[in-house]
């Protein structure tokens, strides 16, 4: 018998701190598998965010750098420009990328920086205990919206892929999900393309991954997967939002 599935080399053997069923672990593994398959572990530098995935630097075997809250794309810009043959990716949550780090994200895209961003959207602030995020759905109950997100005072969810698709400098934008096996396979394909784009010098690539937060959503992991499909996907449709190679998607 031959091994058909084992831990990728680029993922460290450390036990992750994430809650049971948290899909950060799946997305970490997909990134590590892509790094393995492209054979770029030695020249890859990851930038970790602030949020649940703040300890991402412990889980990847490549070089890692921690960034101040939301500033990962700015830090990645500096690393990429200073170490030109490196492959630089950031791994950010929705609070980091779409709230405090919106400016860095939009301007890194506008400059067309040749970096890869993995954006994990679980529609809530995880690490701080389940407060409303910019990506929380209308009517979603969180710690800070106990009666549901009310658009008259809390506004509407930010759709990052749609927003960035208007930015000329962005090369590749795709939204994927990790709620079932086919979608996990598609997510890996998208992440691989985002890294390949950088190797080929094509510019700014961002993959938004719809993810779950069983702890702060107050559901089991299985119920969360269903909630993602029924509630998040209609608001955040999956697909390619921009691919400069193919023209506008």
């Amino acid at each position: 018998m031959a091994k058909v599935f084992e831990k990728p080399h680029a993922l460290s053997d450390v036990s992750m701190h994430y809650c049971p069923g948290c899909t950060h672990g799946i997305i970490h593994r997909l990134v590590a598998e892509v790094i393995d398959e492209l054979g770029i572990e030695g020249r890859t530098i990851g930038v970790a965010p602030v949020g649940c995935s703040v300890f991402a630097y412990n889980y990847f075997e490549c070089d890692m750098q921690e960034a101040a809250h939301g500033r990962a794309p700015a830090v990645a810009t500096g690393i990429k420009r200073a170490v030109k043959d490196s492959i630089v990716f950031t791994y950010q949550g929705d609070g980091d990328l779409a709230a405090i780090g919106t400016a860095e994200t939009v301007h890194a895209a506008a400059r067309g920086e040749n970096i890869t961003i993995i954006f994990v959207n679980n529609a809530i602030y995880g690490m701080t205990g389940g407060q409303m995020a910019p990506t929380s759905l209308v009517g979603q109950v969180t710690q800070t919206t106990p009666y549901g997100r009310d658009t008259s005072t809390q506004g509407y969810p930010i759709r990052v892929c749609e927003m960035l698709s208007q930015v000329e400098g962005a090369a590749y934008l795709e939204r994927v999900a990790v709620n079932n096996i086919p979608n996990i396979r598609k997510a890996k394909k998208a992440i691989k393309k985002a890294f390949q784009n950088q190797i080929d010098g094509k510019g700014f690539s961002l993959i938004e991954v719809l993810s779950i937060c069983p702890t702060n959503w107050g559901m089991s992991p299985q119920e969360s997967m269903k909630w993602l499909e029924e509630n998040m996907m209609p608001v955040y449709p999956l697909g390619v939002y921009k691919d400069k190679e193919q023209g506008e998607a």
Binding site: M1, A2, V4, F5, E6, S15, C19, I26, Q222, M225
Partner: protein, 67 residues
């Protein structure tokens, strides 16, 4: 002929593998691991088809698959 191996100590008992197994052969052990979770296990390995669905959805890289 296929075999899955669970790293019992890394398992957090989230049950995602249980929910995706097409043969429904994954269950939780009666004992607790060092983290205090009941780890996932396969009792009847003969029925495993080695599809690796459990390993693909596992957030903690608990599972190795041989085929």
């Amino acid at each position: 002929m296929a075999k899955v191996t669970f790293n019992e100590q890394k398992c957090k008992g989230c049950g995602l593998c249980v929910s995706v197994c097409p043969k429904k052969i994954i269950s939780f052990a009666d004992n607790l691991n060092a983290k205090g979770f009941k780890p996932a296990q396969v009792v009847n390995m003969d029925e495993c088809i080695g599809c690796a669905s459990c390993a693909i959805i596992c957030p903690d890289c608990v599972i190795e698959v041989e085929r």
